[in-house]
Subunit: 416 residues, 2 copies
């Protein structure tokens, strides 16, 4: 009998009717012979309701007190789910973060888990109970309540799975898995059967908002297999696990095409090409707490360089102003910017061992006359920035070029 | 600098606006130089909302899980109050029941406090903080969350006051103190300055629902002075303290006239007067979890007795049926009942040392032609049952007869 951890988010437990459906999911896992530990979030809307109360009580809510307040959301859900399970004849018991000693540091509202005591959970499992644990919360060494920040319930689930040596950590969401790209852009987008942690990280950070980056990092660190699946529909979902390059035949070349519409780019033209220039440009931007995504620098022949980076569109105007104020000190000839761009990324661990992916990608875009404004690459990802009007066209072109609509995309690999 | 414990009920913290008023009360106590520990209930309506959710999740909600659910109500309030205090410049910190180790037995939904750890509270007070504690909740030895039942926040406040050796435990309500009788019945009803625990117990159990009986018992046991006062109006309220018979001059003869409209009486006529008859009648009633209030038995000359008792009106029909089914076994001649009765009670420790109170009471009722159906007496209380149509008349007659509308009712004492 293997142990699985099942996590259900706020939408999945948003009403008593939905909680009843969650209970059915849990019982069917039990019927298949699994021991089950369940992690739940607050009912959808509850966290926002509490946040609103907090902000009306205190202009900048005290973070310790905010955690006391917010943690009640999950506590309500665990009790209701345990009751619902019991009502359907399934023995169950609920635990708050402090009751299973989910020990965290003291960084209120964004605490990190440092320790979990699995004793009570194992005792209940041994007695045939489903154990329902409040996600998102823990307690620090002083006994103060902490919360883990947005997506914290995913982190709780993965941490519990790691601590208990679970066979699998199942993250139930309102989609039935991770897709090769956004089905709203490419109708032929296909659910992926498997994915590596690294691919999921690249896909998640690029906007495929199925899983929180942090929980994927956590799962990767502890080698906990993650499965993304639907709360409301049956299906195998997508399994995210350790790298399987030891069996390259099973490894698809490209896993997906991600994109991000929320970026804007800023270019500093003709900067003196000398050490420290990147820092002198990005330092003031970072000082304003503006996050920079892509960074590209091209050295010219004349001792000057063009320096381009992207930021969130909401930060565009502010960033442009910061950079323009400093143009003279870099002796830059000009600062230009564009907030009508998108980033399109090709992700796949298969590209590590296959040459020519980049050229194939660029050829596919060229065939549609899409001009590439920026290029950035990593081990398992190639990102390009193009005019936003080309988003759908570009994503579809790449999806087709790499045969993502077909099962077993390996056959479409360039090196074959 | 003396320590006071202030308790605010659900109505007092029913909205953020009301919580702000509570914060003002707390700060004014601080300004008068007190250390303050605050105990709060769930915002009004919240406990009922949670109970409703529980009942929809599980037909008979599991009591352990119900406590997990219900305890969130107070947790929300402590966080919001701590934030509100901070926002007004008053250092404050909140604690749940388990965080200040309010140790209880494991009787979920009606647990009893067995221990309180005052360490964290004292440390915070020493640092000049107001300490805000969730009422109504604790944890048992296993670390499970427990609740203390209705009125549990009063009990928490008194227990904390006892553990901390507080100068006073202030129970804030929506009335400004304990009255000589219900002002809606007698316009001249007067707020009492002082009252003994025993008197408060008699008044509370008779329907003056200002304080929970249990918290008064608790305060009495540990000698914690209680003060009932209004959340929303200034005023000294009513101080309830240890018996002060050592100074009888200060002891009013009669403290108040209580009454209860919720009773019904049942009489078993002509029962064989032999040992065990009371048990044989009331045993089956108790077996049905029906609470009996007054019990009166009068032995006749013919070896039979009339046995009368009162129950809550809601239990009247059921009780009558239970009793009637057994008439033959007692060889009783008849079972009669009446649910159109009220109980009126005169309460006062002063009557201990003064003769003639009862006769004065009966004379006052007779003067209004009110027929007395039952009489029951204790050390500090005389109760009569009369037809419900005489409620207002009887209460007013007694209020006047004992001079309760005047300050210093002692002068009206019969023995003077």
């Amino acid at each position: 009998m293997s142990l699985i951890v099942q996590k259900f988010g706020g939408t999945s437990v948003g009403s008593l009717e939905r909680i009843a459906r969650v209970a059915t999911r849990i019982r069917s896992a039990r019927d298949r012979g699994h021991d089950v530990v369940v992690v739940v979030s607050a009912m959808s809307g509850e966290t926002d309701r509490l946040l609103d109360l907090a902000r009306r009580a205190q202009e900048r809510p005290d973070l310790r007190e905010l955690d006391v307040l917010l943690s009640t959301g999950e506590q309500v859900t665990i009790a209701l789910l345990a009751m619902t399970l019991q009502e359907s004849g399934c023995a169950a018991r609920s635990y708050t973060g402090h009751q299973v000693r989910i020990g965290t540091d003291s960084a209120h509202t964004r605490a990190r888990i440092v320790h979990i005591d699995d004793q009570r959970i194992r005792a209940d499992l041994a007695q045939g109970r489903v154990v329902v644990v409040a996600g998102f919360q823990g307690e620090d060494e002083k006994g103060d309540i902490t919360t883990l920040g947005r997506g914290g319930s995913d982190t709780t689930a993965v941490a519990l799975a790691a601590a208990l040596g679970a066979h699998e950590c199942q993250i139930h969401t309102d989609v039935d898995g991770v897709y090769t790209t956004d089905p709203r852009v490419v109708a032929e987008a296909r659910r992926l059967e498997v994915l590596t942690f690294e691919e999921m990280l690249e896909l998640a950070s690029l906007g495929a908002k199925v899983l929180q980056i942090r929980s994927v990092e956590f799962a990767s660190k502890y080698g906990v297999p993650l499965r993304v699946l639907s709360t409301f529909e049956d299906g195998p979902g997508t399994l995210i696990g350790p790298d399987r390059e030891d069996n390259p035949m099973e490894q698809p070349l490209i896993s997906g095409v991600a994109f991000n519409r929320d970026e804007a780019k800023i270019t500093v033209l003709g900067v003196q090409d000398r050490p420290g220039v990147a820092f002198s440009i990005l330092g003031p931007v970072a000082d304003e707490n503006i996050e920079v995504d892509m960074i590209v620098q091209n050295s010219g022949a004349d001792g000057t360089t063009d320096f381009t980076f992207t930021v969130h569109r909401n930060d565009y105007a502010r960033t442009l102003q910061i950079v323009r104020e400093r143009t003279s000190q870099w002796r830059a000839s000009e600062v230009t910017g564009d907030d009508r761009i998108v980033k399109i990324s090709l992700v796949g661990v298969g590209m590590r061992s296959h040459a020519g992916i980049a050229s194939r990608m660029f050829r596919a875009l060229a065939a549609e006359s899409i001009n590439i404004q920026m290029i950035s690459t990593s081990e398992i990802k190639i990102s390009v920035v193009v005019d936003e009007k080309y988003l759908e066209l570009g994503v579809r072109a790449l999806h087709t070029a790499f045969g993502l609509e077909e099962n077993g995309a390996l056959e479409g690999g360039v090196s074959r």
